[in-house]
């Protein structure tokens, strides 16, 4: 540890402004601050500062994603062995290992490409490396189908970081959730790889598949009028889907951590769920096809709804900035997600587009909240002389 610190301290002069290796400044600073909380003390303003910083905050978010990541790995293996009919003869660890080996490259590509670009931009701007991508980098793999080619992950990540974030000025300045920008990019650029029946389950070219294998997600089946999933499977996550989105239980564990630590906004999570349930009831009432008849609460455990509500809608940068606005923002995400999901004939999922749409309108929601604050403040009784 001491050797490491000495290394960083000794190399510091070489990356100062004007020094030979100044182009490595942000990289040096990024790693130094990662390993050591710096000895900088307060020079102005408050003399004490909270122990919490962005690294702490982001690492808690990553921690809250761990159940979904681990389950996603297991489920990847599970779906594979189920499809080739060897589930009964395969042990738990073998299943998990298969998934692990499938998922790790996706995560690695996302982090390497994304962090590479982040470091480069930080250096170009002369900024510190921002921690935001630690979360985006893990969210991107989790919202992708497992069979997405790695080069697509790389392209999408690059697009998301550059056009979703850096062109606006970096973390804290972006309008849309960067991870969803990555997914939306692939969704529109390579639709065949982001939907359909062949992307959710790795088959590895297996010759023999079980009878009646479809490969479709329960949501796609339901949209086709074929509602045959088990509620327990959908809740625990033993269904095909994007890597991290299938297990509502794992997502709830993450949600609990985010709420207990106060990092994720419970207001947004609750209002997204409320909006989804509201729209679900409305569709049940006016149902004209089997998908519309799907009991309203089952929407919450299908597709990306839970994942979006807990990890995507709550992104503090792209969400509304006012506390009251969060209720409106979340509720509309829930409503629009289910509306798109059920009534869009082409594609049976709406969470991603709902969140991106509300990201776009978040400043408008905030504007009205701020205006109402201004009006209310003007009306107050003043000091009586």
């Amino acid at each position: 540890m001491k050797a490491l610190r000495n290394f960083f301290e000794k190399t510091k002069p070489y990356v100062q402004k004007g020094a030979k290796y100044h182009w490595l400044h942000s990289t040096h600073d990024g790693f130094f601050t990662l390993f050591f909380v710096q000895k900088d003390t307060s020079e102005s303003g408050t003399h004490i500062h909270d122990y919490s910083d962005l690294k702490r905050t982001m690492s808690i978010v990553v921690l809250s994603l761990v159940p979904a990541i681990l389950f996603g790995m297991y489920n990847t293996g599970l779906q594979h062995y189920k499809a080739i009919g060897e589930l009964a003869s395969t042990g738990f660890f073998e299943i998990f290992l298969y998934g692990l080996l499938k998922v790790i490259p996706v995560i690695a590509v996302s982090y390497i490409v994304g962090l590479g670009i982040e470091f480069a931009f930080a250096q170009m701007r002369g900024h510190d490396v921002n921690e935001g991508f630690l979360v985006s980098g893990i969210l991107i793999p989790l919202v992708m189908p497992i069979e997405t080619p790695l080069w697509m992950i790389a392209v999408a990540t690059a697009f998301a970081v550059i056009f979703g974030k850096e062109v606006f000025g970096g973390t804290g300045m972006n309008i849309w959730n960067p991870a969803l920008i990555a997914r939306a990019f692939l969704f529109f650029a390579y639709p065949a790889h982001m939907s359909g029946d062949s992307v959710w389950i790795p088959l590895d070219g297996a010759a023999k598949l079980v009878d009646g294998f479809s490969g479709a997600t329960p949501l796609a089946d339901a949209a086709a009028g074929n509602i045959n999933f088990s509620i327990a499977d959908a809740f625990f996550g033993f269904i095909p889907g994007s890597i991290g989105e299938t297990s509502t239980l794992a997502i709830l564990l993450g949600a609990i951590l985010l709420i207990v630590t106060g990092i994720g906004s419970w207001k947004i999570m609750v209002s997204v769920a409320g909006g989804g349930l509201f729209m679900g009831v409305l569709l049940n009432i006016f149902a004209v096809n089997p998908f519309m008849e799907l009991p309203f609460w089952q929407h919450l455990i299908l597709g990306g709804f839970a994942f979006g509500a807990v990890f995507m809608a709550t992104d503090p940068v792209s969400a509304t900035q006012t506390e009251k606005g969060k209720w409106i923002y979340g509720f509309l995400i829930g409503v629009i997600a289910i509306l798109f999901r059920v009534l869009n004939p082409a594609y049976p999922e709406g969470m991603m587009l709902a969140i991106l749409l509300m990201n776009t309108f978040a400043p408008l929601v905030d504007h009205y909240i701020v205006q109402s604050n201004i009006k209310r403040r003007l009306k107050r009784a003043g000091v009586s002389a």
Partner: protein
């Protein structure tokens, strides 16, 4: 007892080193000083030269743009030096006491029998006027303005704050005289904010004031927060504020006809051997307060004021004009390996990401480390938790950053000064310099509207 105003938002920082209720006499200081830098926006003009003799209450300097506002010597003695900084900015006027305590004579009278003009003239001449601050902006009150009311907070909720109830004990009649004088300066009322549950007992018998009781965590004791809940400031409204201990100076002036700048200050913080109160005088050297009273070893930071809003000082500096507290905490100038990843049982945090949040009763030694680098605004909803006002702090700060005067005005810049948003700066995950931004905003307002 009227209704208690309960405030839920805010935070009591669990910092170790609270003062015991013991008052001792501080050792005799070698020097005193008045620092023009304690007053925002002041352009001082000197009335004395180095080497001159001054008596208690003789002017040292005055406000260039309002020459009636005098700043006077807290003791009799010799002006030993006038320290200047960059561009010859006056930093300190240092006076060496010579035991000559013969003060200037002022008229001794019951303020209730005097006219407002007489009271104003006496306060101005004695150099007590600068204790009156003006809201908006938290600058020295302008004697040519008529405030709609005068506000006093009888308690301080800041970390390790001095207990005014203890400080004024036994001086209630002097306090009353001071309040009577203040009441003549406004056509409105004098409002006083008291701590609920009898913690402001020595203030409860006061007459000629409107009492309001407050309950809640810091910043419930900030006068700005109390104004907001009693009678919020709209555009064009002016009120004055004053600290309880400073009212005693005014009270003594009218009671005895003499200036007496004695005050009681708290010496607190985890690096103080026995945190307690000391009787001393305005503008005293820090060394006379802390010498021999600190724990051995370690690099410490001495703060005139509290840990949120105070000024960093060294031993040969002087107590701030408005301060009733000296805080000593450890400097945090050391690296911590993977500090952001530790469980953090000993790391007090406003949030709940450290295990320390499981032990709400514990007190912690907090140092001056930044605990992270400065970032753009990322988290939201954080500042709102620490500001018990109907104000959107982030939107106000963003309006200041883009220098949008209209928005600043609409979003409430008239109602806040640095101390009201200090907790936001403490808790900020992105380590944003909230107080500095706010003061820049206030400066632009002053520039724009004068």
């Amino acid at each position: 007892m009227s209704e208690v105003i309960k405030l839920r938002k805010g935070l009591n920082i669990k910092i170790a080193g609270k003062a015991e209720a013991i008052i001792e006499t501080a050792s005799d200081p070698e020097a005193y000083a008045i620092k023009p830098t304690d007053f925002y926006g002041l352009t001082p003009k000197l009335s004395v030269k180095a080497g001159e003799k001054v008596g208690v209450g003789e002017p040292l300097f005055y406000d260039k743009y309002n020459p009636a506002i005098l700043f006077t010597s807290p003791v009799g003695g010799t002006v030993v030096s006038i320290n200047r900084g960059d561009r010859r900015k006056i930093l300190e006027i240092i006076i060496q006491p010579n035991g000559d305590t013969k003060p200037l004579a002022f008229s001794k009278a019951n303020p209730l029998d005097l006219s407002p003009e007489e009271i104003k003239a006496q306060i101005l001449k004695s150099g007590l006027w600068p204790f009156l601050k003006r809201r908006p902006y938290g600058i020295i009150a302008n004697p040519n303005e008529e405030p709609k009311a005068i506000f006093i907070s009888a308690f301080d909720t800041a970390p390790l704050a001095p207990d005014y109830n203890l400080i004024v004990a036994g001086q209630e009649s002097t306090l009353q005289t001071g309040i009577d004088a203040l009441s003549k300066l406004t056509k409105g009322k004098v409002h006083i904010g008291l701590a609920a549950n009898g913690r402001s007992k020595n203030f409860e018998a006061l007459k000629n004031v409107e009492k309001h009781w407050f309950e809640g965590p810091h910043p419930a004791g900030n006068v700005g927060i109390q104004i907001h809940h009693v009678a919020p400031l709209n555009k064009g409204d002016i009120v004055w504020t004053i600290n309880p201990q400073d009212i005693l100076f005014i009270g003594r002036l009218f009671e005895t006809g003499k200036l007496d700048f004695s005050k009681i200050i708290g010496l607190v913080g985890s690096e103080v051997e026995n945190p307690r109160y000391y009787k001393t005088k305005l503008g005293v050297t820090i060394s006379s307060l802390v010498e021999g009273k600190l724990k051995k070893g370690g690099n410490v930071r001495i703060i005139s004021g509290n840990v949120l809003t105070g000024t960093k000082v060294s031993k040969d500096n002087f107590l701030g004009f408005y301060d009733s507290l000296v805080t000593v905490i450890p400097e945090g100038d050391k690296y911590e390996f993977l500090g952001w990843a530790t469980p953090g049982i000993n790391k007090f945090s406003a949030g709940k990401t450290f295990l320390s949040s499981l032990f709400p009763k514990k007190e912690y030694i907090l140092d001056t480390n930044m605990h992270g680098g400065e970032r753009a605004f990322v988290l939201n909803g954080q500042y709102e938790k620490y500001l018990p006002m109907d104000i959107l702090p982030i939107h106000l700060l963003k309006a200041i950053l883009v220098n949008d005067i209209d928005k600043m005005e609409q979003l409430g810049i008239y109602e806040v000064i640095e101390e009201d948003l200090a907790l936001c700066e403490y808790a900020c995950t992105s380590k944003i310099k909230v107080q500095e931004i706010l003061r820049n905003g206030i400066n632009s307002m002053i520039k724009e509207f004068g």
